[in-house]
């Protein structure tokens, strides 16, 4: 029988994968992907808990997370475009003029 913890652990694993992606990747686009993964991981957990408790709040939360993820992508891509126009690169290592 698949219990709540299965889903939660899956969510944890996916979250960590996303985290690894965030930490590892140097391309900003890939960072966006990784955050999507993390948000989706939480969605699984929300829906699983929601199912487990028979409560709709979790699904609500997941719904809004999807909305938020969408908005973030829009703004993020806008930023990337303007950045790319200026820098010609999306590599984080090129984006370190402010430091110290």
């Amino acid at each position: 029988m698949i219990g709540l913890s299965h889903y939660l652990i899956l969510s944890a694993i996916l979250f960590s994968i996303g985290l690894v992606g965030i930490l590892r990747r140097r391309n900003i686009l890939m960072l966006l992907f990784a955050t999507e993964i993390m948000l989706n991981a939480t969605n699984i957990a929300f829906v699983a808990i929601s199912d487990n408790y028979g409560d709709l709040t979790g699904q609500m939360f997941a719904f809004y997370i999807i909305a938020i993820a969408a908005s973030e992508v829009a703004v993020g891509l806008g930023l990337l475009i303007v950045l790319y126009k200026r820098h010609g690169s999306l590599d984080l290592d090129d984006l370190a003029s402010m430091r110290g």
Partner: protein, 645 residues
Amino acid sequence: MESLVYVALFAPFVGSLFASLFGMSERQIFVGVVASLLLFISFLASALLAANLYITGDVIHITMMDWISAGDFNVAFGFVVDQISVTMMTVVTLVSTIVHIYAIGYMDHDKSFNRFFSYLSAFVFSMMILVMSDNFLGLFIGWEGVGVCSWLLVGFWYHKPDQDRKDNPSISPSWAANEAFIMNRIADLGMLVGIFILYWNTGSLQYDEVFAKLPELSESVLVGAAIALFIGAMGKSAQFPLHTWLTDAMEGPTPVSALIHAATMVTAGVFLVVRSNPLYSMEEVAGVSMFIASLGTFVAFYAASMALVERDLKRIIAYSTLSQLGYMFAAAGLGAYWIALFHLAAHAFFKALLFLGGGNVMHAMHDELDLFKMGDLRKKMRGTWLYMGFASIALVGLPPLAGFWSKDAIIETAFNEHTYILWIMLVITAGMTAFYSFRQVFLSFHGEDRHTALGFHPHEMYKFVLAAMFPLAVLALITGWFMSSYKEFIYKIGESVQYEMSDHTHHLAIYLALMVIFIVLSSITFAYFKYARTGEKAWKRDEEKEQGFFYKLLINQYYVPKFYEEFITKPYAMISEVFWTKIDLKIVDATVDNIAKFFYATGDKTRSMQTGNLSNYLNWMAVGAMILLGVAAISAMIGLGGIDG
């Protein structure tokens, strides 16, 4: 009578202020005249007070105004004119008047003439406060006041440069002045401590109140106070080991030496002991008194020994002063306070005379003081010769001059107290005194003429100066004759100053005196044969002898100044330097700076955390989260989760 007290006290002050008004202007004879006149008024007032006291026996005690009061402590400017203080007042004002008049002539050519008088009168004022005050703190005012005036006067010729100790043992007037001031300060600390002890145990500093409470005090308090006060006295009266400043103080103008460093200020220590006689005569402090007597005797001998070989005219007289102060302390320590006081007065007269004579010589010789460069001066300076010879006779203690009476009484006292060692030393010292006094007289006034060859053309001092010195000569002669009446006079103070020889001593007194006189006379004779002859038998300098151990020891003052320099002055300077450069700058300050630098350096290191690379930032964030989670997991597992209700 009260107004007379004020007149006696403030006349010198007015003189000083008056002179200081002209302090920065050209020499004005009238400044000296006015100052002298005011002093004379002060003397007259003092003499009237003395006469009044002698006749009526009423001690005058007045309080001028409050000075310091804090908590229970209360001290006023109060003055007392009793037998002790009136003695001092009279002596001080008399000698001062004469010295002032003398100085008009002596300082004739000095452009700081007016300034000199302002200092000198200020000194007298301080001295009057010292002797007239009715409490220890008032005495301390005068005590410090005379110290400052002494500093000003010793360093009067401030512009003279420092010399090597070999050329001039006193280095320079300003150096000598500082030395005098600082050494006195060391002693003053002792005196302050004495004052503290007395205050906290008796609740007052007024003589009569303090002395009234003395019997109630414990032995340790009494001994402490006695020692502390005596330390104060040691400084002012230049007792070993605080004696070196006195000879160096001879850098000052000669009237200063006469007044301050012979007649008045240096006797303040003796005065203090005499003033505190109720304390020093207590059973409990007998040990301290004995120590005072012993130290006095020692200094008498010690100073005399150095005088034996000294070549500098003024320094010889200074040594003799030291030596005589020793005598006084011996007397005071042995309980013969009135004898000490009497010797003080007598000494003041003949020593002042001696110094002023020396001043004449110096004036004539253009400040040259080396006896070896003089000789046969009596032909050119007959008056001075007479004065100095006379004063020397008084000093060595030949009857019927003043020195005989007082000094003999001291030697007798030592005998009477069965302190035979002291007695023997005092007798020997008397012999030495005779020798060096006349060595000095003979070397300067007799023997071969050594100065003409060196280009000196001495001339006699002004007549009025010689005339002014005359009263001193008279006093040097006659003072001793009034010894018994003085005794009667001072006995009225109370039991503690009364001192009588035992019958046994009384019987032997004449033989003892004769013995001393014999020793003195033989010393003079010896000196005469050694130094006073002319022609072939004339004295010649013996260079070889000057290389001898004892000679060198004595001429170098037993190496005490050198010791002070090497073991106190230099190390002090060195330690100060180390404290500053090594400890203060390198440790204390550096610690503070290093704390600041540490933060700054940490900032520089921490700054590297801010690489500017987003990836690092994200790493930081994740690392932070993971550390927190890790710590949370561990603390949750070991139950530190911390629900503490």
